[in-house]
Amino acid sequence: MTQIGSAYIERYPEWQNGLPGRNLAWLSELRADAFARFAERGFPTRKTEAWKYTNLAPLAKDVFAPQTAASGKMPATVPAHIPDLGTAHRIVFVNGRAESDGSTHNALPKGVRLMTLGEALKEAPDLIADHLATDNKPEEPAFLDMNTALMTEGAVLTIEPGVELEAPVHLFFLTTDAAARSAMHLRNLIMAGKGSAATVFESYLGTGKAEYWTNVVTEIRVEEKARLHHHKLQSEGEAAYHIAMTLTKIEDHATYDSFAMSLGGSLARNEIRALLDGSGIDCRLNGINLARQRPHLDTTTTIDHAKPGSTCNETYKSVVGDHAETVFQGKIIVRPDAQKTAAHQLNRNLLLSDEAQANTKPELRIHADDVQCSHGATVSELDEQALFYLRSRGLSENAARSLLTEAFVTEMLDDIENISIREALRHAMADWLAGLSGTGGQA
């Protein structure tokens, strides 16, 4: 047990009072059990295989109290920061608290519910009870347990069988310096019923320079033949910690298409566990880490093929500049029953400076014999010949580097079907690239 772990234990009783759903006995029990598990193990260290490349010491050096203030008000300047997704249904959280002013989820079609976790615990506690902390568990559950014990808010989206939602649903989490030194333990639940279709965009934005911690768990269920496009933009404040875990359970003939772009925070982990609990599943996990200056961005995925005949393709890319560091850990499990599985993994990293570092670790655990699996990892620098070619036509070294860097990642966005989300991500990427100028440049 680390010292910090014990500080959390000391203060837990005090924090409990501010948590939602205290009247629900099952929830109190769930929270207590989860906290007990966390208390026993504490924060993972680099000796834990799943955290081999990410040192949590900076996060664990201090206690972040859960953000339980009554309401985070939407700052006047915020709307400019919200990616404009046109007709999207939007639910907004400011500093971990629901903010109805910015939310625009009134006109949802029949069969679709979008609530805050607080609302859901009041209005539909059974729904939460059924879907919280299900059997799709990560190998190292410390942050999931802490989240279950301390979750204060989040978005709950349910789509009834057969309902096809046209406009995307935008879950928007904004953090300002008012949340300095506190933790937002957010829990999102997304339930896509049989044959339904939806696009969900999760975005996390920090506007200040303060240290804060977002600890988010998103639990997803994609039922038979449902299609869920799930996109995420992580653009937290520069001193922020962002620990995110997405636990997705996918059933027969369903599609789960995930894309995450991560470019904020000082230490960020985007962990996805996809349980392919059916046949004929089309699962796609893709993402980009954009790291410059000094952040540490970690993408960790586990794809668990439990049944025969499903496909999962994943491609993650990182661009790493300055003194930044990225991690990709990709585990693929093919259980003995999961014959005829197709699993393809690719991780490509572009280093923009000598000090930049990219760690990559594929891990295949194939227990079936009739499978198609491949994996590949590359770490490269900008192509000198291409750089010279562009400069020889008049582009400055910075412009040439930026153009080639963009070329390395930009085609990843082409597969995002929703235009407004694609453009929002392209915009975020362009801003990031514009901030690159000077990286490694000498001319």
Binding site: R391, S396, A399, A407, E411
Partner: protein, 264 residues
């Protein structure tokens, strides 16, 4: 005519190997010169050094372009000052659209010259004009830079870029190789369109055929890192018959003095 390009006693080392060993060459404004020479003699090295490609160490000598010290300029500055290199092996750049790249390039040049940047519509108009001149399919221009281009298409794209950027000095490294007969004519027309009293062209080639379309004012023979012979257009014909053997022996030990100097 003033000399547009003056190369004096140029020594260039690549990875500790001396490739150019005292090369002297001048090209006056208004002229087209050809450089011929055996494989590995240093022709592409010369072209790359003129364009400022990193990795080539100039250990001795001097290059002046319109009187300015070219060696002090970054590659992009040379381009903006009016130097263009048509590469022997154009680079494929997946993910960078030809049109986007060329608009950025042209606007960088225009800004350098104190001219207004072109917007997308204005650029497209000029690009279409030049593409028509060089009989380039517009679809090619929408693709990634040189991605999936045939050998000949890549060379034609180089000349298209040249036409667009309108350089003062065009250094063309084996632009003719890989072109079919019809394409060669089209490309030669494109190059001839650039000829004017203010400009100069330095063509590196192995074949007399290109020189039938673009008649050179001078032909230089580059052998083992030096210019060993300079003559008129008939020199190319002679080379076609005899090969380089006779010229290879001709090299004098004292480099600077032996190089056939142009009158300034």
């Amino acid at each position: 005519m003033p000399n547009l390009l003056e190369i004096q006693n140029l020594h260039v080392t690549v990875e500790d190997k001396e490739i150019l060993r005292g090369l002297t060459l001048t090209v006056p404004a208004g002229e087209a010169h050809a450089v011929m020479g055996p494989n590995g003699s240093g022709k592409s090295t010369l072209a790359h050094v003129l364009a400022g490609r990193p990795g080539y160490e100039v250990t001795k000598g001097d290059i002046r372009f319109r009187g300015k010290n070219l060696l002090e300029m970054a590659p992009e500055v040379r381009a903006r000052e009016g130097v263009f290199l048509g590469l022997q092996y154009p680079v494929e750049i997946p993910g960078v659209s030809n049109m986007y790249f060329l608009k950025a390039a042209l606007n960088a040049l225009r800004t350098h010259r104190g001219e207004q940047e072109l917007d997308a519509v204005e650029f497209l108009k000029i690009a279409r004009e030049k593409a028509t001149l060089l009989e380039i399919d517009e679809n090619l221009l929408q693709r990634g830079v040189n991605v999936g281009f045939s050998g000949g298409e890549k060379k034609r794209n180089e000349i298209f870029q040249m036409a667009l950027l309108d350089p003062t000095l065009a250094v063309l490294d084996e632009t003719d190789s890989g072109l079919d007969i019809d394409a060669l004519k089209v490309v030669a027309n494109g190059i001839n369109a650039l000829r004017s009293p203010e400009r100069a062209i330095l063509m590196i080639t192995h074949y007399q055929r290109l020189l039938e379309y673009i008649v050179p004012d001078k032909v230089h023979v580059l052998s083992d890192g030096q210019i060993v012979e300079t003559g008129g257009k008939e020199l190319a014909l002679e080379l076609e018959k005899t090969g380089y053997a006779t010229f290879e022996k001709k090299r004098a030990p004292d480099v600077a003095a032996s190089a056939p100097a142009q009158s300034a």
